[in-house]
Symmetry: C2
Subunit: 167 residues, 2 copies
Amino acid sequence: MSESCRHNGRTSCTVPSSEQVQDLLLQAEKLCAGRQQRFTELRRKVLELVCQYKQPVGAYDLLDDLKQTGRSAAPPTVYRALDFLQSQGLVHRLATNNTYIACAHPQHEHTGLFFVCHRCGFTQEVHTDEIVQAVRQQAVTLDFTVEKAAVEVSGTCHDCQSGNDDV
Amino acid sequence: MSESCRHNGRTSCTVPSSEQVQDLLLQAEKLCAGRQQRFTELRRKVLELVCQYKQPVGAYDLLDDLKQTGRSAAPPTVYRALDFLQSQGLVHRLATNNTYIACAHPQHEHTGLFFVCHRCGFTQEVHTDEIVQAVRQQAVTLDFTVEKAAVEVSGTCHDCQSGNDDV
DNA sequence: CAAGTTATGTTATATTATAACATAACATTT
DNA sequence: AAATGTTATGTTATAATATAACATAACTTG
Ligand SMILES: [Zn+2]
Ligand SMILES: [Zn+2]
Ligand SMILES: [Zn+2]
Ligand SMILES: [Zn+2]
């Protein structure tokens, strides 16, 4: 299901549900294999941990989780794994709150576009051609070669707008 | 000159030049006065320091600068001033590299759109209606209430593309 | 297996930012 | 002007995030 996906236009993407995690891990394994990149146990484990969160997660939370598994772990352990996962497009880093989130469709390159609810933390990745195109067009105007773009919008999500102040 | 400015469409904005700093400080003073906000000596000084950099500057660099002036200063000193300046739209924070930059036209609210050269550090703020509009449109689709948006594009600026590897 | 490369373990430290509480400055009312 | 409330700053300590540096282990390739 997540093997092939079409993200034309403004398609929204969700964090994989529990039953999809294994699928996504398999996908990640294939992706890395195809690129001659080593999808090690540690990297798999970290990606799995990231996936298990419904929301973006901090590096030190992942570190705590890793320690729980009995495995030896220090900050570099998790940061190196996250660096690798990011380099493969399997994980995005949200700069505005120093968190990490699994990408639901790493099979094609893309800029991370995120809408982050600062009330409940719900974070939605989207693929909006208009945004990407607008950034690209501005880059042309500036004669700027884009390497990567971060678009992080914070505000209130649909569910949190319903007037109830106590979620 | 910076008193009234028209940023219709894709207008680029630069960090104020040295001779413009006093103008910008005066503008900031008026702006705060009009809002019943206290533009204290400390806040003025921090804004001035930020303006004096041609590139985004880190909080601890500003802290060092503050100390040079003889004034007592600790991290909270500069962070509180920066928080205030951000709240008034006088300064933007770049989340992708934890730096702060003066806004060249704080007189109207806007999202910060930045193109950051990772080679020379040159950072260009732009006002691109297309980008803002595209984000807004996507927010409508998601029924998401935007509070603030951060768009930070990193790559190579015009000057750094000229093939020379040793700037 | 040997040699080279890449990944991980480990310790220490750098960098960025905030908590908490005391004091000072300013504003407002009497 | 004194009293009072509010906002800003000083000060100390610490939290939160991330990396440097170097040793060891694992994997890869010839
Ligand atoms: Zn993604
Ligand atoms: Zn929400
Ligand atoms: Zn601005
Ligand atoms: Zn450059």
